[in-house]
């Protein structure tokens, strides 16, 4: 849209003067809020709001057959839907490549950090629990990655595992009776930086994203490890920028972790 291009130029001009349209510091988040346990039917849920961006995460826990090469591990899957309610560019139909990338970035962080101890999710030989995290974008106003990662993390933390009932050879879950939390390890949050007109911004809003040439995301854990990273968009980053963004992600993570 033409108006987007004019706005993008405005954003770039402001950044040249070291300013952001909403008056934020380059390395500051918009206000973040997480609502937990928003639904009853699913095992865990959360809505993460960063500024006007809203991402919902729902966790379902089901019985599943393990992957043949991982017989002694439960399953973990992250899906993502760009619902047309969230933005005019989100169309119904086959999954958007952006939604696939987002789901896979969130998945990699949680998986690599061993956030959920999958080895404790085995019910019986050939029967395991599957943890299905679905991300649902409600309102797209920039920085979906960090909002989605926090919503997913929060929903996983508050998810309650249903009771396993056995009837002879047959196992089933009693979703009415929930017992305990998932076996959890370290938490994960992400920090996403956008390169706009040569400068680097944390937590870009949608206008800033439209003006951006690319982004870099780092996933960090409770104990200060890096568990995932993704560069996206055509911008390149120098080694020095890379190093300083790793340090910035680790610094920012404390505030984010408190909200989970």
């Amino acid at each position: 849209m033409i108006s987007d291009q004019i706005k993008a130029q405005f954003i770039k001009d402001l950044i040249k003067d070291n300013k952001r349209a909403d008056g934020r510091d380059f390395m500051a988040y918009r206000p973040i809020e997480i609502e937990k346990n928003v639904f009853e039917n699913c095992e865990g849920s959360a809505i993460c709001k960063i500024g006007d961006t809203k991402v919902l995460a729902g966790v379902k826990i089901d019985l599943a057959t393990p992957f043949p090469d991982r017989p002694n591990e439960g399953m973990l899957s992250v899906g993502c839907e760009f619902s047309p309610i969230a933005h005019p560019s989100f169309q119904a139909g086959p999954p958007d490549e952006r939604s696939i990338e987002l789901a896979r970035v969130v998945d990699r962080g949680i998986r690599a950090a061993n956030t959920i101890d999958l080895t404790k999710l085995v019910v019986a030989p050939g029967k395991v629990m599957g943890v299905f995290i679905d991300l649902y974008i409600l309102d797209y106003n920039g920085n979906l990655t960090d909002a989605a990662a926090m919503a997913a993390m929060s929903a996983v933390k508050n998810a309650i595992v249903p009771k396993v009932e056995q009837d002879g050879e047959v196992y089933k879950l009693n979703h009415e009776e929930r017992k305990h939390h998932l076996p959890l390890g370290e938490s994960v949050v992400t920090c996403t930086f956008e390169k706009v007109n040569g400068s680097i911004l944390l937590d870009a809003n949608i206008d800033e994203e439209n003006a951006s040439s690319g982004r870099l995301t780092f996933g960090t854990t409770t104990t200060g490890k890096i568990c995932s990273a993704q560069k996206s968009g055509l911008a390149s980053f120098t080694l020095e920028q890379f190093d300083s963004l790793i340090d910035m992600s680790l610094e920012q993570r404390h505030a984010l972790m408190k909200l989970l």
Binding site: R70, P95, E97, R98, I100, E101, A103, R104, R108, G109, R111, A112, A113, N114, G214, L216, T221, G224, K225, I226, C227, S228, A229, Q230, K231, S232, G233, L234, A235, S236, F237, T238, L239, F242, D243, I246, D247, L250
Partner: protein, 251 residues
């Protein structure tokens, strides 16, 4: 990655990797430019057991027309794995979630490298077909596509080069093979522009300290210089003849 799997072999013995390589040795790497007749540019990469064919078509007109950009060429990238390409099971043909994500980030790399403003109102199609996979397919595919683009005469800021760096048995090593990829503790796919040293692609998973991540990109940067040498050799081999004939015109 399943670094705690009971099947995990000892990946490093006496300072050497299972394959006998040192921590920074690359697997045997060979690139052949101009392997296809129809395509405007093409390359085949043989990297370890990886066999990937890259083909470039264009720049050509954009269909459908309304997608045309009047300021620059569009870039499309398609990374796919053939159903018979892996040692284990028969895969499904066509794109899946993994290949769609890889295609997307590969496209970003080439949107950066190609001087797209030279060909407004056109599109450049880049195809990367993995016919045999052996760990590190995405960076091998991008490395091959870079040669195919040069072979097609597409103007670029650099021959971009990729490499994977990961942690196996507690050590950071360069160019993971399939086993190291399967049982390692971290894996990062990195694409570098050797001319500037800038990072064009970075996808990482695993648990690393900040210092290890910083070392990861530095190891990748050094390896990219070696990879570029192989790319250069491939293009030299293909163009030496053409070059000598044009040399006469310059003189």
């Amino acid at each position: 990655m399943s670094s705690n799997s009971p099947d995990k072999p000892q990946l490093i013995k006496n300072g050497k990797r299972l394959s006998g390589r040192s921590f920074t040795d690359l697997r045997p790497l060979k690139i052949t430019a101009g392997v296809l007749k129809q395509a405007d540019g093409s390359a085949m990469i043989e990297w370890g057991k990886n066999r990937i064919i890259a083909a470039v078509y264009g720049p050509h007109e954009v269909f459908p027309k309304f997608l045309t950009n009047n300021k620059k060429a569009l870039v499309s990238a398609r990374y796919v794995m053939a159903p018979f390409s892996s040692l284990e099971d028969h895969g499904r043909s066509g794109p899946n979630r993994r290949s769609i994500e890889i295609s997307k980030v590969a496209k970003h790399v080439f949107e950066n490298a190609i001087l797209t403003s030279r060909f407004p109102k056109t599109i450049i199609d880049i195809h990367m077909d993995v016919v045999q996979s052996d760990g590190g397919t995405r960076i091998a595919a991008i490395t091959a596509a870079s040669v195919a683009l040069a072979d097609a005469g597409i103007p670029m800021k650099d021959l971009v080069a990729g490499v994977a760096v990961g942690k196996v048995d507690g050590e950071l090593v360069v160019d993971l093979d399939k086993t190291e990829d399967n049982y390692g503790e971290s894996d990062a796919a990195v694409v570098i522009s050797p001319r500037t040293g800038d990072i064009l692609l970075f996808q990482m998973e695993g648990l690393l300290t900040p210092e290890e991540v910083k070392r990861t990109v530095r190891l990748a940067k050094d390896a990219a210089v070696q990879v570029r040498e192989v790319q250069v050799a491939a293009l030299k081999k293909r163009y030496e003849q053409v070059a000598s004939e044009l040399g006469e015109q310059i003189a």
